[in-house]
């Protein structure tokens, strides 16, 4: 297992190194991104390595680097995020994000304080939290998670 540490550009180096190694071995990757992602529930470090067959997009790589969601002002991505939200999220969090089975995603008071940032919301979606909020890491791509977050932020009241 290869563990790649924090400084900027290491992510790119990781990918290059991985590509070089991939011909030799399966290159299982444990990525510790430039931005440190933590499980919102217990604070443990999240391994944000892509799932099998997932290609990390430029948006995801940028997000890993500095925790900023590139899709926040991207109308096409927000529209895609809306469709994804309707599929995956709204039955618990309601169409307007006000919450029912799952907590409210709008306003300023969040069950998990870190959700106030996109990084924190990503941590909950990717890593899961308590009870029914399971990890979506094996269900949807990280790129889709960023699109969902971008859409949720448009619901903010």
């Amino acid at each position: 297992m290869i563990e790649l540490l924090d400084p900027p550009l290491f992510h790119l180096q990781a990918r290059i190194t991985c590509l070089l190694l991939v011909a030799i071995l399966a290159c299982p990757v444990h990525i510790r991104a430039a931005t440190e992602f933590r499980n919102a529930f217990d604070g443990s470090i999240l391994n944000v390595a892509p799932r099998t067959g997932e290609e990390l997009t430029d948006a995801v790589l940028a997000f890993h680097a500095d925790g900023t969601n590139p899709y926040l002002a991207d109308a096409a991505a927000i529209l895609a995020g809306k469709k994804l939200y309707q599929t995956w999220c709204q039955s618990c969090h309601m169409p307007d994000g006000s919450g029912r089975i799952g907590p409210s995603l709008i306003g300023d008071t969040f069950t998990y304080e870190r959700v106030v940032t996109d990084q924190g919301m990503f941590e909950v979606i990717f890593g899961g939290a308590g009870g029914a909020m399971q990890s979506f890491a094996k269900r949807i791509s990280q790129d889709d998670m960023l699109k969902i977050i971008a859409y949720i932020r448009t619901l903010k009241k």
Partner: protein, 472 residues
């Protein structure tokens, strides 16, 4: 001698007086416990993993036969045996997906459907009777409660042939919608089989099932399964509505209005208690015999009901007029409505306790799963409930010192609780799944769930896996 008699009599009356202020059902909403309380002794618990790898586990039971085996119910229609040392036997105890040549017996299309519960006859060691409750494919989604018989020569496996040979349908309860079946079945200390029935589904109880004594939905049922021959069940003679609907000649004179009010024309004699929305899990206190019900709420409140062993039945828990001690439908902070029937002893809110309420950050959930009653780990008659949505674990118990019910959050876990029961030693068992309304890939394709035991935090064995809890 006479003086001693007076002293003894006084002591008896003092005892009765004390008993009178012992656990009581709340008489007003302000006596209902809510999160934020502290149980006597402030118990500290942990959830210790016994075994994992189960497909959508939704129930668990002990046979109380001295073998230490635990039987984990997989929603798809199988039951797995966990041995005393924590090993999961590779072959299921039985498999209802293979007993019918036309396909599975068990309807699992919706996540609230499936095989839900197993209960062992109190004399299981002698008669080998096992009772199961599930949503049936051949009966178009109806809730079937069926008795199977274990072949003594094959104590760990009821073959498909044996299933078909020994199946005796106890109840076949049609289901109007695909949710709110209830699910749990269990024998009470009186030897009767209790059945938690949901209100039949949809939302808001559109059939008025909870209050309609002509329907089995929205009730706690109580039947006698110790019948002769092909008779499916009989009605215990002390069921509260046994003769409530007795046909008789019309008699208008000499009957008081109160007397008329007791006539429940068409009432079903199987009913033990009513006014329930979805009593998904319930349990009897192994020490006292009291019945505890976790009644899953709708949009705003989860309800925990308690009745002492001395109950004569007939309690009305208020659905759909009330959710917990609150109005249904809830329209705002200052709702006014009558409290119908019996109040719960405890309740906990959803994130929004009423429409438009400020969102709660802590102390909320959305679907109560009763696990069992703890008489250990510093607890005495404490009902333990896990929340399916939030992973919180609450304890509800009577605080003798303050003569009130207390509700304390004991853990905040990441687990999605689905069921619970008691082991032979009285310890509480819990199962969690990763089954959900969304992305349900079928009852065998979700990530596997696990079986846990509630233990005193300072009694966790070295090296044991403990459910992770939230750090702040």
């Amino acid at each position: 001698m006479f003086r001693h008699s007076i002293a003894w009599t006084a002591a008896v009356f003092a005892g009765l007086a004390l008993q009178a202020i012992a656990q009581v059902i709340p008489s007003s909403p302000d006596e209902v416990a809510r999160p934020g309380g502290t149980l006597p002794g402030n118990p500290q618990i942990a959830l210790v993993k016994i075994a994992d790898g189960f497909n959508d586990p939704v129930g668990v039971a002990s046979a109380f036969d001295g073998t230490g085996r635990l039987f984990v119910v997989e929603r798809v229609g199988r039951v797995k045996i966990v041995t005393k040392d924590g090993n999961v036997l590779p072959e299921p105890f039985f498999d209802l997906t293979k007993s019918n040549p036309l396909g599975t017996e068990v309807q699992t299309v919706f996540v609230e459907q499936g095989l839900w519960a197993i209960a062992f006859h109190p004399k299981f060691r002698e008669n080998g009777y096992v009772f199961v409750s599930f949503a049936s494919v051949p009966f178009n989604g109806a809730n079937l409660i069926v008795r199977l018989t274990v072949d003594p020569g094959s104590p760990n496996a009821i073959s498909s042939e044996q299933v078909n040979k020994t199946s005796k349908v106890i109840l076949n309860i049609p289901q109007p919608y695909y949710n709110h079946y209830g699910g749990k079945i269990a024998f009470g200390p009186d030897g009767y089989l209790y059945i938690g029935k949901g209100d039949g589904g949809w939302e808001g109880d559109p059939l008025d099932a909870g209050q309609n004594l002509n329907r089995l939905w929205g009730k706690m049922l109580r039947v006698n399964v110790d019948t002769m021959g092909t008779q499916a069940y009989s009605i215990p003679r002390d069921n509260p509505f046994l003769v409530a609907s007795k046909d008789q000649m019309m008699a208008l004179f000499g009957i008081t209005e109160e007397g008329f009010s007791h006539i429940k024309m068409g009432g079903r004699p199987e009913i033990w208690a009513y006014g329930l929305r979805n009593p998904w899990q319930f349990a009897f206190d192994p020490k006292r015999g009291d019945l505890w019900i976790g009644d899953v709420g709708q949009n705003h409140w989860e309800e925990i009901d308690w009745q002492p062993r001395s109950s004569k039945g007939g309690e009305n828990y208020g659905w759909k007029h009330n959710q917990g001690s609150h109005c249904h439908p809830s329209v705002g902070a200052n709702d006014k409505c009558p409290i119908v029937g019996v109040l719960p002893v405890a309740e906990y809110p959803h994130q929004e306790p009423y429409p438009g309420a400020p969102k709660l950050r802590d102390g909320w959930g959305c679907s109560v799963t009763g696990l069992g009653i703890a008489n250990y780990a510093g607890m005495d008659g404490v009902f333990i409930a896990g929340d399916w949505c939030s992973g919180r674990v609450w304890g509800v118990g009577w605080d003798k010192g303050n003569s009130k019910w207390q509700m304390q959050e004991l853990l905040h876990t990441a687990l999605q609780f689905t069921g619970g029961n008691h082991d032979e030693d009285g310890s509480i068992l819990a199962v969690n799944c990763y089954c959900f309304y969304l992305d349900d890939k079928g009852a065998t394709s979700n990530p596997p769930g696990a079986l846990w035991r509630v233990m005193a935090a300072d009694q966790v064995p070295a090296g044991a896996e403990v459910a992770k809890t939230r750090s702040r």
